[in-house]
């Protein structure tokens, strides 16, 4: 049940016929894991907290460095040296005290990923490396949790939504490896892609619109174009191939 203050806070989105109080209540009941509190994690967590996702679990092991500040807009100059999750908790609490923010200061690994995703209704990819993305993709399929993929480099980005058992997963479109790198990026690129991921999460919980399932959205900021590629489920996929169509 929404409180009087919540009705006021979310008034403009409750006005949307697709959302209404019922949709807002669904957002309030949602528990979302955001894997990473950096370039993508910043806009994702800001917009999901502002929209009234009831419970956000934020995971990151890093401390803030000066070189993060061109893009990780949750963290400010005064936060240099602080753990990203702690800085994020502080800002998100101030943005929306009605949202429960849970922070985990850990590296996501095979050994702890089950505990990290436990009880979550959605997993949002805000990682900076491919290996952890694959781990998140795999656990999302195993635990039947929707997975909202996003990645950036330079002024480019991509996003796709994965609903286990219904839509292709990350491994259906890619099997390669990318060594961890210090990648070039301007903050607006994760801004664009993070907002798209947050849009997908909100749509999913409210149950409105058309999700980016089976559609890889590729953004090129240089030419300011969005292109869509169709991805189909790979029956031999090592993550979701054995999973029955729902």
């Amino acid at each position: 049940m929404l409180t009087v203050d919540e009705r006021k806070r979310y008034d403009r989105q409750i006005m949307m016929p697709e959302v209404g109080e019922e949709g807002q209540e669904k957002l309030k009941q949602a528990k979302v894991l955001i894997a990473g509190a950096g370039g993508l994690g910043s806009p994702i967590s800001i917009y999901l907290a502002a929209a009234g996702i009831g419970h956000i679990r934020l995971v990151d092991h890093d401390q803030i460095e000066l070189t993060n500040l061109n893009r990780q807009v949750l963290h400010w100059n005064r936060d240099i040296g602080e753990f990203k999750v702690k800085s994020a908790l502080n800002k998100l609490n101030q943005l929306n005290p009605d949202v429960a923010i849970e922070i985990i200061k850990k590296t996501i690994e095979e050994g702890n990923i089950r505990d990290i995703v436990n009880d979550c209704d959605a997993i949002v990819d805000a990682m900076d490396n491919l290996e952890t993305r694959y781990l998140l993709n795999k656990i999302a399929i195993e635990k039947n949790i929707p997975f909202f993929h996003g990645a950036v480099r330079g002024l480019e980005g991509r996003a796709m939504t994965i609903i286990p058992g219904k839509s292709p997963c990350l491994r259906c479109m890619y099997h390669g490896t990318l060594p961890p790198e210090k990648f070039p990026v301007i903050g607006v690129a994760p801004g664009v892609i993070g907002c798209i991921q947050a849009t997908e999460v909100i749509k999913y919980f409210v149950g409105m619109g058309e999700l980016l399932t089976g559609r890889l959205l590729v953004y090129d900021g240089m030419s300011l174009t969005f292109r869509e590629f169709k991805i189909t489920r790979n029956p031999q996929c090592d993550h979701c191939g054995q999973r029955k169509e729902v």
Partner: protein
């Protein structure tokens, strides 16, 4: 039989800034070889030293993922291949 290959922007330095190159071939692999015949420096961008497709490249045929076994996917006149780089930053 003409196939169009749409290049990633980092590849266009090798094609005089051309975004699209017309090639010949019966499958994706033959088309990529014809592309490299026309612009040899692209070879090291698209293939590894042992002749496999670079692990950071994705191939889309007429807007659909060609993965897996991309190089053997048959093509027909008028098809378009997109070469896209996988991204992993966040």
């Amino acid at each position: 039989m003409t196939i169009k290959i749409n290049l990633h922007k980092t590849h266009r330095q090798y094609t005089n800034d051309q975004e699209t190159v017309e090639v010949q071939g019966k499958n994706v692999g033959e088309c990529l070889k014809d592309l490299i015949r026309q612009y040899p420096p692209l070879g090291k961008e698209i293939f590894t030293k042992n002749g496999k497709l670079s692990p950071i490249m994705e191939v889309y045929l007429n807007g659909k993922s060609a993965f897996p076994d991309e190089l053997n996917k048959p093509v027909k006149d008028g098809d378009t291949i997109h070469l896209v780089y996988f991204l992993a930053g966040g």
